[in-house]
């Protein structure tokens, strides 16, 4: 295959991966926050003083959107879309790998954000009944987020290794 064409295909696949990561992450965050918001709105209508405590739990599922964004930015940076040129060794195989990295990270972010929204809603119900349990209630959604953090970290490291490996091979 022509080298220039291979680079273009590789870059395109990588950018598609970035899109999947940020798109799925943001969709999950939107759904997660929506789930938590429905629970919080009911509580705040009865107990407006809890707004501050509930806002934190509402915001938690929002981080996955940013993790997706970070994954996308890392792909953009390492494929030269933002700074400089696509790594000289870039190939279709690297592009395919980055596409699947983006897809896998995006899926992990999507599912964890939705479940974090459910966990936040459960925590909100707990705080509505027992205000003093807000610390422990915050812990439930934080536990779910662990796996979004692991996915993000794995994604970042894989992106760095994949793109560095290609450059070294060149």
């Amino acid at each position: 295959m022509d080298q220039a064409l291979a680079i273009e295909i590789g870059r395109g696949l990588a950018i598609a991966g970035a899109g999947l990561a940020v798109g799925l992450g943001c969709c999950g965050s939107g759904k997660g926050i929506g789930i938590a918001s429905q629970a919080a709105a009911g509580v705040i209508s009865e107990k407006p003083d809890l707004f501050g405590q509930l806002l934190v739990m509402l915001a938690l599922p929002g981080t996955q959107g940013f993790y997706g964004f970070i994954t996308a930015i890392m792909i953009f940076m390492r494929t030269g879309l933002i700074n400089g040129a696509w790594e000289p060794s870039a190939s279709v195989s690297t592009g395919v790998a980055l596409l699947f990295v983006g897809l896998a990270v995006g899926l992990a972010l999507f599912v964890s954000a939705v479940w974090q929204g459910e966990a936040s809603a459960a925590g909100i119900a707990l705080v509505a009944r027992r205000k003093e349990e807000s610390g422990r209630a915050l812990l439930f959604p934080a536990m779910v987020e662990t796996y979004a953090v692991v996915a993000l970290l794995a994604g970042i490291l894989t992106i760095i290794w994949l793109t560095s490996m290609g450059a070294n091979a060149a």
Binding site: V56, T63, L139, E145, V150
Partner: protein, 687 residues
Amino acid sequence: MAIDKMKKVTLLCPVTATQRLMKKLHEMSVMEVVDVFDRYEDAREKLTRQEVSTEDCDLELQRLNLIIGLMDLFAPEKKSFVQGLAPVPLLVDPQELSRIKTQFPLDAQYAAAEDMDTEYRRIERAIGDTENRLKDLRPFESVPFPVDALRKIQSAKVVFGSISRQGLEALVRDAALPALAAVEEVVPIRLAGDNDNQKKSGGASARENVWILVACRPEVGEALRGVLDAHGFAEITLPQISGTVHEMIRSLEGDLDELQGRVKGIVARVEKLVEHRKEFLMLKAFWEDNRKLSLARTNSAHARWIQVVTGFVREMDVPGLEAVLKADFPTVTACVEDPLPEDNPPVNISLSPMVRPVQMLVDLFGRPAYNTFDPSPFIMPTFLLFFGICFGDVAYGGMLLLLSLYIMHKTKPYAGVYNFARLMFYAGITTIIFGFLLGSWFGDLYAEKYLGENNLMYRIMMTTQVIDPIQKPIVVLMAALAIGMFNQFYGIALKMYSAILRGNKAEALCDGLLWLVILPGFVVMIAKMFAPVPAPLFYLGLVLFFAGALGLILTQGRESSGLAGKLITGVISLYGIVGSYGLTAFIGDTMSYCRLLALSLTTAIVALSFNMMADLLRPIPYVGIFLFIFVLIIAHIFNFLISVLGAFVHSMRLIFVEFFGRFYETGSRSFAPLGFDSKSAILHRQQ
């Protein structure tokens, strides 16, 4: 700086002095009163529970709730977004409260509020009735004739109803229509802004309904009914009113306006009440407190002459209490004893002002058991370390410092918010330190393309930066895991400390020290798989691992029965299914600290992405530089907020799950001495 020692105190006083004694205890706020019968089960036969009426408090609270409810309905307190986020209780100065209790004309204010409430309810009912009538009349507003005129016709039967235009045309042509009947279409009157009139008039399509009046001699009524039904006629019962519906609607709308005007009058009167909102809230707090004081008396019990009040007092407060009793209540006898474990003593923690903010984290998880120790001083450095790494950015740290200083300045009397702000102040310092070390200043705002070549920020960054987590993530990951590993050892050491405090040296040795022997050896063996390890260190690791493993196998099954059972439990405990810890738990907990790198990268990468986005606007002629600055400000405030949330939650989680899991025992309740107690207010003496 620890969990305060408690004493069990039982007071025996003459029945006649009980009320005065309880008031004194309330004023001193040193004794938590508990149920006499919970402590002295066998006293049930000899003592009678004190019966107390809270009727007067309930009545006052009812009156105040009516006034406050009215104010909240018509003139709610305006709160800023920040006040909504962190509502603070009302500060009640005892002297001011005393003045209000005696001088504030609550009766007159209540009478006025009750009048307003009664009038408002009456108006509300009238508005509801009027709106319902209007709702019923609206469909017939365009009926052009006075509806009572139909009822006055005696010689003929007149029916009003609707039918499709097609049906009307067929009805008029129908040969079966009795000769003594007449049908006439009712043309609705035109109303301002009513487009539906067009449809009801002659211009309507064949399928749309029109109104008709059908008149007939009474004797052909039945025959006519059959014909009408055949053409889809639907009779409409007009409202029982005089004149036209339109006139009636205008009249009712006038009434509604008048009622709304009266509501506005009530709102204006309520706004005058609002001037005394603070007084009402203070009085409410006073009566809430009084009610709780009365209810506290139900925890005491009495015989014919003697009242028994029992509870807990901090050891340091016992001499003060005894002195007051001796001076003011010479007939009262106090029995002071050490609490037994089954007494479930409450926990009060005294900390230096420096460490006090961290107690908030401990309270979020749950107070420590009475016979253990307060972990606040021990978690302070780890929490701040984790927070600093996760949020590490010099500029964000500076923002956090300034914001927390401002909140501390504004909220000094409110212990909860003040301590949180103080914790964030400390966290701001570690954020700045790690910002310097990781080279993050609003991400990479120091870059040449943003602030020019060799700018001051860049020069400082180059001097202070130790490592760039974006360029060398593996090194930072290893550092994060090393922090996690040492934090696990730290937790095990605290477990040993806790066991020694309880006098359980065997637990300190078997469940603590042996893990501190095996785990470093295990780490060296794992490290050998990934990196070269000097031979002496590797052999030392092997020795430590096997010595620790042997010790654990021999001791972890000490509570199992039979030699085989003890050994099998000991072997399995190494894995972590049974026993106090495990190698898998160690690996899992240590790996969890990789989030320190992930969150550090999150803060930095989002910041540098925002810088890039803002920079895209800079080339726009004339306004580019302003847009660049504006987007930078908004974007970095946003990143500051989401990153501070992530740093707090994940640092807290590492403390709660990975660190507390090693040693911390919770399950006690907070010491709650009898004293001023209101849901909405706190006592605060004016300086």
